[in-house]
Symmetry: C2
Subunit: 475 residues, 2 copies
């Protein structure tokens, strides 16, 4: 059995505004109907695979759980990293979580990459499994198609024909200069290091003990001091914070001898910036790729994208342009400068722009909400409550609320009174009233909330009870 | 006395998405706090000027009237053109409307141009008045600063020093080739024809009678068959439709002998496309101009604009780009191809995109509304009702409505019942109920309307009474 270990703690900004700290790219539907995270999970499910171990941050736990259930995976271990400590501590904790099956294999994979040929990938994994059962730490090497300076490389002894079989790894090569990358590309013996690994639980723990013994104590304590929270497992915060912030490459791989590499040529893309999304979307003969309600007139070498429900985006006569339109934020940048988006996000943070980090739609365990209109003394929100879900029993000091049900059925508690509302019915929640909203139905509930008050921040909330264990949360 | 005659029937698309058929550029606040139309009216008010005559289309009558009152002009004649017939018939109708003061002067000006130096413009007008009182038809000639091929030119006998005085006009020159434009620019004897004219009422009517006698009958009948409608005068539809679609230049000016030109060097811009708005906004040392919530990082020669309440717009590393962001539509086009926007609007019309023509905020005689969210069976609108204004007494066949007051006070009639609602109160209007909304207060009323129903089109309305005389209107 192979346990997929899916890493999705990242919160990259290079795909802003579609990817933000509050909703990172692995959860976005950047290509097609599934998120990258869902595609990763699906790829690593089915015959030969056990239930996945997912590593993510506390902020993303409900998104991670919901997207899991959307792809039909009902059981999974979701470990919550209390702080960002890179891949070393995360993978070691996952191994410790699997320690009762020491001979089982772990397939560690990022959740924000694209792999096109799932069958070829499974064949590579099966080839790697032979070497892993032999005690090797196995990496997967991607066929490079350009002298990329943004990735590390894996060196083989001889050029490969990309048949699915394990080779000995000569060495890891750090991110090269452009000249060095071109030189490596010409030899056929160097592959990209995609950060995908396969090994036995016992072997990777032993390797950490040998090469990074300082991580063992903090990670074991993070597991023993951790606690169950609904369907999640929260790693011990203090212990995990003591672990070094280090990648598995630096902590283990670069020091280890028994390494193997399985070449892979089935299409891989890390979607590291918008030019990568453009490439992966499949530009037409003029180099134009679009997504959403977009009109591209006489454009070349450009990527135009309007996110779900975003504005109509019109490009005319563009060349070498990325334009991403969302309701609350629009980005325009030359395609060949797409990696500069992170500078823009940093500048937005400096001026305190909420769009730098917050997503327009806020995901909660019970569903989501988004702001439709914000005035000085009022706010209009659209709220979706999943079937069977309920919000906390709560009250507000500074705002009253009107709720109008527009789809589905709501059970509304105000004080002692419980009312069942259906489409086109409404209720008023006076300032200070203790209230709760639930969806007792079999379809999603949509309602419009109109808030009135002098202060409308999300932190004006007093929680009395919450089925999602958030009574002490601030928002 | 000089009667300003302000032409604002145009509905240009070259400044899409800020200017649309439903809300053309003269009414937009493209530069600063006033619309171009308001700036035109203000420029032509005060000492020496009589009440203005405004020519516009029926669709824009309430915007035109409201923007007039916002600049403090309480009396004006607003003539509504039933169809678009270019400047010839419009100006002739205005002259007929002023026929009872045959010796009065008419200053005819477009409403969608910018003039920077109002004092210099008044001085030019006063200089032109001398020639006009002498029986001349006076035009104003703009100092050209580039070999523009998009305008007609006025030829003088000798180069001018731009002192405010009338010169004889040698001839009109049609839009030239680039070579011809450069040649004219070098002589100092050619000025741009800005479409601004000054003449006596009797003289222009006589000139039409001489050069374009076919327009006289239709325009006289359009005036005699026209009717008062609130503060507007609707020209007779059938008669006006018979008038040729022709500019005053072709109909009269190019055939007339007694012509004079007053040179003008006080800054003029017709904002014919986004590059003109960029130029007029005043680009910085890098050639960058912005408006609204915009972040321009390391950009050159670009115009970035986010309309009121639009998305945050971020440009990184751009050169030669115009980006205009609104809630419902985003445009990206190279600055030097800005005139191609009309191609995009045409293409949007072809695919039936409502953003091609409709503005996100719909102006009505009582205020405005905009859609915040549109689902399959619900719609959320924000509605503003001006102080003292009221909507028609109406009912809907296919939708029920919830209204929540968020600012101000509302008088709501539902059936026989009249209720006064203040901030944070709400009311329900059942499907089929006859209802009316009014603002009895001294401040604007803002409310959120949540509509539910199977059909949510604006044309599902039955009007019983309307103080704005729209009982037979369809929306």
């Amino acid at each position: 059995m192979i346990f997929p270990v899916v890493l999705c703690g990242g919160s990259g900004t290079r795909l802003w505004p579609a990817s933000r700290k509050g909703y990172p790219k692995q959860f976005s539907r950047l290509l097609g109907e599934e998120s990258l995270y869902q595609a990763s999970l699906r790829r690593l499910s089915g015959e030969g695979f056990a239930e996945p171990v997912v590593l993510t941050g506390s902020d993303f736990r409900f998104i991670a759980a919901e997207q899991l259930s959307q792809v039909g995976i009902e059981t999974a271990r979701i470990l919550l990293e209390p702080s960002a400590r890179n891949t070393g501590p995360a993978i070691l904790c996952a191994a410790i979580a699997l320690e009762d099956t020491p001979d089982a294999l772990m397939l560690v994979a990022p959740s924000d990459h694209v792999i096109n040929d799932d069958d070829a990938f499974r064949a590579a994994v099966m080839a790697g499994a032979v070497a892993a059962r032999d005690g090797k730490l196995v990496t997967f090497g991607i066929r490079p198609d350009r002298p990329e300076t943004g990735y590390g490389y894996l060196e083989l002894a001889v050029a490969t024909d990309f048949a699915p079989q394990a080779h000995d790894l000569v060495r890891f090569v750090e991110k090269p200069s452009e000249a060095a990358a071109a030189e490596m590309l010409s030899t056929g013996r160097f592959l990209w290091n995609a950060g995908i690994f396969l090994f036995r639980v016992r072997d990777i723990i032993a390797a950490f003990e040998t090469h990074a013994p300082g991580l063992i104590g903090p990670c074991r304590r993070a597991m023993s001091e951790g606690r169950e929270d609904l369907m999640f497992f929260r790693l011990g915060e203090d212990a995990f914070a003591e672990a070094d912030d280090i990648s598995i490459d630096y902590a283990v791989m670069e020091h280890h001898d028994a390494l193997a590499v399985v070449p892979f040529d089935g299409g891989w893309n890390d979607l590291g910036a918008w030019d990568a999304v453009w490439r992966e979307t499949g530009p037409d003969a003029n180099g134009v790729a679009t997504s959403g309600t977009v009109l591209a007139l006489d454009c070349e070498n450009s990527y135009l994208r309007s996110e779900d429900g975003g504005p109509r985006l019109v490009g005319v006569g563009l060349d070498n342009i990325v334009a991403i339109a969302m309701k609350d934020a629009v980005l325009v940048v030359p395609l060949d400068q797409a990696q500069r988006v992170k500078e823009a996000v940093a500048a937005l943070k400096t001026i305190g722009a909420p769009e730098a980090t917050d997503f327009q739609r806020f995901y909660r365990p019970w569903g989501w909400y988004e702001t439709l209109s914000l005035g000085t003394r009022f706010q209009v929100k659209r709220i979706m409550v999943k079937q069977g879900a309920q919000l906390s029993l709560q009250s507000h000091h500074h705002r009253a609320e009107h709720w109008v049900v527009v789809e589905g059925t709501a059970t509304v508690t105000v004080g002692d009174k419980v009312t069942l509302l259906s489409e086109n019915q409404s209720v008023y929640i006076p300032l200070g009233a203790v209230h709760r909203l639930a969806n007792p139905g079999k379809v999603d509930l949509h309602l419009i909330e109109v808030q009135s008050g002098a202060y409308l921040g999300e932190d004006d909330i007093v929680r009395y009870e919450d089925i999602y264990a958030r009574v002490t949360d601030k928002a």
